[in-house]
Symmetry: C2
Subunit: 270 residues, 2 copies
Amino acid sequence: MSDQPLGIFDSGVGGLTVTREIVKVLPGENIIYFGDTLHRPYGSKSLKNIRYYTEYIARYLLEERGCKALIIACNIASIAGQKTVENKYSRPIMGPVEAGVREAMKMTRNNRVGVVATSGTAESGVYQKLMSSMNGQVQVFAKGAPCFVSFVENGVFTGKAVQAAAEKYLGSFKGTEIDTLILGCTHFPYLQEVIQKVVGPDINLIFPGLTMALDLKATLSQKGLLRESTKAGDREFLVSDLKSLFPGFIKYGEKFLGMGSLFFKEESIY
Amino acid sequence: MSDQPLGIFDSGVGGLTVTREIVKVLPGENIIYFGDTLHRPYGSKSLKNIRYYTEYIARYLLEERGCKALIIACNIASIAGQKTVENKYSRPIMGPVEAGVREAMKMTRNNRVGVVATSGTAESGVYQKLMSSMNGQVQVFAKGAPCFVSFVENGVFTGKAVQAAAEKYLGSFKGTEIDTLILGCTHFPYLQEVIQKVVGPDINLIFPGLTMALDLKATLSQKGLLRESTKAGDREFLVSDLKSLFPGFIKYGEKFLGMGSLFFKEESIY
């Protein structure tokens, strides 16, 4: 079973930022990445529809491909469908929300935490609820940044348009005195440079990817599922619509991620 | 049959710019508008997948709802699926490409025409092919502007981010000496102000909507399908995912379009 791949999925290429951390922490693992480019962006869709896609992809990765664990990299997919998937399968299922929250609670000094995410995640109230349940003192400010995903999928990580959008979306954190900002969307680490510049150097940016990778390692180890190999594992990158994967992204994404060549194939699972 | 509604569809709210022109030219017609917000944006998807959605929505509007004519407002849906739909149904089916091209050929003085569209439409080569077949002298320059649709769907029609994106996308027309620019995506008329400012006042912008509405009137009249009513027709606005319809769009869209209240309902056709 330890040779079976890890299944990682996202609405598009955002989950590659999580994959990068998993590859660093668990280099020997075989990986199947699935980007649902046919249905991206998820961030604005109804939870009912996102749950349907999440269950569909989980079935493909866990049943058809026999993945030993499932990493739901996408925040809104985890919010919409992780519980249903956990109830159906006994294999480890992981999402980014808890990891991000745990990390933020460790980092904040003044108990004022911001979350920037897609509209769906920001409006879901999930981050707010989870943080309040862990610490009644914490104040959470969540803000949607709907156009960020579109920039990333197009391979636009910096420049005037991103800068203007970041100023527009992040401007509302002014006056909140947050000292910690969770990037509640797997696409946003690509925009880290611009985001950090706009919010200023005193605010800690939280990417759940590394915490997720460390949690995953602990879980696999505990269940005897670690693949202890000195050779790098196989990595397969799949998308549901190859045309929707922009050459612009591949060009800049490969450089940004540093995981080597991103060779994507289309897999018609729907 | 003349009381039967017109069916108009688009990937989202872009087709409302065409609907506005149809309402002006044919105020007595009953209209069912369908925005496939669950699957937007279409512009980057493979033609195979867009064809599937186009056929599905055509079946809903023409068979289930008995529409007397179908207006495919979305450029890429018309490119991907109009022929298949025309082969299946004997009712009038209209798309924006031919209307835009005819209008541009009338307007250009120097036979240099630009097309700004979604990546899918720009790369399809359809505008280039159609114009060359009509006039061997014409030179066509097509350019994709992938983030424009996302701005519009979010209700962002002006401002710094749109301006920066417009400069980036439209900058490549510099040096081409075009005197006419086709907006080859129904979403782009919402950004008319910024687009005109960036390309300068000497370039004619072509919106196919009005030409489509006049063509439609002629076709309906010829087939005895015109609804000659002194009262305004009924208008029904449907989307496949209500959550994906942004309050921001409704707020600014109603004002921009001036067709009165846009009350959208979700219709699960898939």
